[in-house]
Amino acid sequence: MSHRLRVNPIACEAHGMCAELLPEAIALDEWGYPIVDDRPLPPALLDHARRAAQACPTFALLLTRERERDRDRVS
């Protein structure tokens, strides 16, 4: 089971809290919008990723759980 980060670019309003809380996987472009590393998250970062997704004021950061074929949204 792997977890991946994904941004809903329509909901995103470039608050930037995600990049503050998870700089290992999220950087901000020159306009303040997140560039997300969409590879599977290392387990050590999972709690930080959950916190980052919780912190997003517009619920734009999504943490998805993949089990090979199907995908459920975790937060």
Partner: protein
């Protein structure tokens, strides 16, 4: 086979079933083909494939899978896969015929709806049956009123037609660039603005009124109508093994007889150009696919074949079937600048990277064209193109980035010249590539992202 048939040139001759024209067989020179005319041209309606048992997959889907039909809306997605996805989703499905055609240089879908509506409607009803849909909405671009009216008349002609199991209606939809995007169309039909939404949920799971929705390009459905009649082997008699069948292309620009033509996949570009009366002079470049497609150098005209497989090494694809020839006396930089700015304006304003990125790209190429750019402007454009890649809710920024990147490659000498010396004498010429002015996207329900 290298025959191509034009909408204006060839008569409605009946040839052997495998040959061209296929979709355009019997197309009337004016107005629409009636239901009777349609049946005379293509034979009786396909024996509708009744589902054997509730869980059995419709045999038509299997036929389409064997035929290898892919979508003709630009994305080229395998049609059978899409049908299966809708058929497999929970709830009563609904079919949406996509003839919104927001692509300015494309005319094929509105031509089909205007002149050959019954072919598309046959395909739509067949698809509806295959996915167990009870409702059909035919979306036609509102800026093509003749096509809207023709569709409405065709639907009236079909009222009570045996085999039309889905309740059908026509909907005139906005003409801006993104209105024909799958989720945008579904958004619009649900009462919202015609701009894309975030997916998941995908429209095949939850689309119009939260029902599984099949959004299919008008041309794709026309092909389904013929595959159902003649079978997948017949379909594969034309085209290439990886891209079988025929396709409609819109030929425009520096060509004697611009218009909608039917080619087989893999046909040489030269044969198409010859069938259209030849080009005016030697084109500087060709735009393939659409405004989200790619430029290729005009000198390659002789060697190019029209299939994705053959175009891939050139960094291009057939896309929405747009083939636009840019004449040698046009300024390719000016054309690129105009289209790039238009693409930036067509952003729905919902995603930061798209709004800011496309604006920055457009500004950059405008500065290059005006001779006022910074030293590394071209690198900046390349960087921006990479920065917007896959960071929007839809493929719009990707397409715009592709268009500009291919222009940087194809027009490197002219771009360098403009960067150094500013606008050339051809910059002021009227643009060859059409840029509809009316078609601005509607504002999103949330604050659109501003460029402040």
């Amino acid at each position: 086979m290298l025959d191509v048939s034009g909408s204006e040139s060839s008569p409605a001759a009946a040839g052997p079933a495998g040959e061209l024209p296929r979709l355009l067989r019997g197309i009337p020179p004016h107005g629409a083909m009636s239901l009777d005319g349609h049946l005379a041209a293509h034979g009786p309606a396909a024996a509708y494939h009744r589902r054997r048992g509730r869980r059995a997959e419709s045999p038509l889907i299997e036929q389409i899978a064997r035929a290898g039909l892919r979508g003709h809306g630009g994305a080229g997605f395998p049609t059978a896969t899409k049908l299966r996805a809708v058929a497999g989703s929970r709830g009563r499905a609904i079919v949406v015929v996509n003839a919104a055609e927001g692509e300015p240089a494309s005319l094929k879908d509105r031509t089909l709806m205007h002149a050959l509506p019954h072919l598309v409607l046959d395909g739509a009803q067949l698809a509806a049956e295959a996915v167990s849909a009870d409702e059909l909405i035919v979306c036609v671009c509102e800026s093509a009123p003749a096509s809207v009216d023709s569709t409405a008349l065709a639907l009236a002609e079909r009222r009570g037609l045996d085999g039309d199991s889905a309740r059908a209606q026509v909907a005139a939809v906005p003409g801006h660039y993104l209105a024909g995007q799958e989720s945008a169309l579904v958004n619009h039909l649900g009462g919202g603005p015609a701009i894309p939404t975030f997916t998941p949920p995908m429209v095949f799971q939850q689309g119009v009124r939260r029902r599984p929705t099949l959004v299919a390009n008008a041309e794709t459905l026309a092909h389904i109508a013929l595959i159902a009649r003649h079978g997948p082997d017949w379909f594969r008699q034309l085209g290439t093994p990886s891209q079988p069948g025929s396709a409609l292309v819109t030929l425009s620009g520096a060509i004697v007889h611009p218009g909608v033509y039917e080619i087989e996949h893999g046909a040489s570009l030269v044969s198409l150009v010859d069938a259209a009366g030849g080009a005016y002079g030697s084109p500087r470049a060709l735009l393939l696919g659409g405004y989200g497609g790619s430029w290729i150098d005009g000198r390659l005209l002789r060697g190019v074949a029209l299939s994705d497989e053959h175009l891939a090494p050139h960094g291009a694809s057939l896309g929405a079937g747009v083939v636009a020839l840019l004449s040698a006396d046009a300024c390719p930089v000016a054309e690129t600048v105009r289209v790039t700015r238009w693409l930036a304006d067509q952003s729905s304003g919902q995603c930061g990277p798209c709004v800011h990125g496309l604006d920055s790209i457009a500004t950059c190429v405008e500065e290059i064209a005006g001779g006022v750019a910074q030293a590394n402007a071209t690198q900046r454009v390349v960087q921006l193109a990479a920065l917007v890649h896959r960071r929007g809710a839809c493929g719009h920024p990707d397409g715009a980035a592709r268009f500009v990147s291919s222009a940087l490659d194809a027009f490197a000498p002219e771009l360098a010249d403009h960067a150094r010396h500013g606008p050339c004498e051809d910059c002021a010429r009227p643009g060859q590539l059409p840029l509809p002015v009316f078609g601005r996207p509607p504002a999103p329900t949330r604050e659109p992202i501003s460029l402040r």
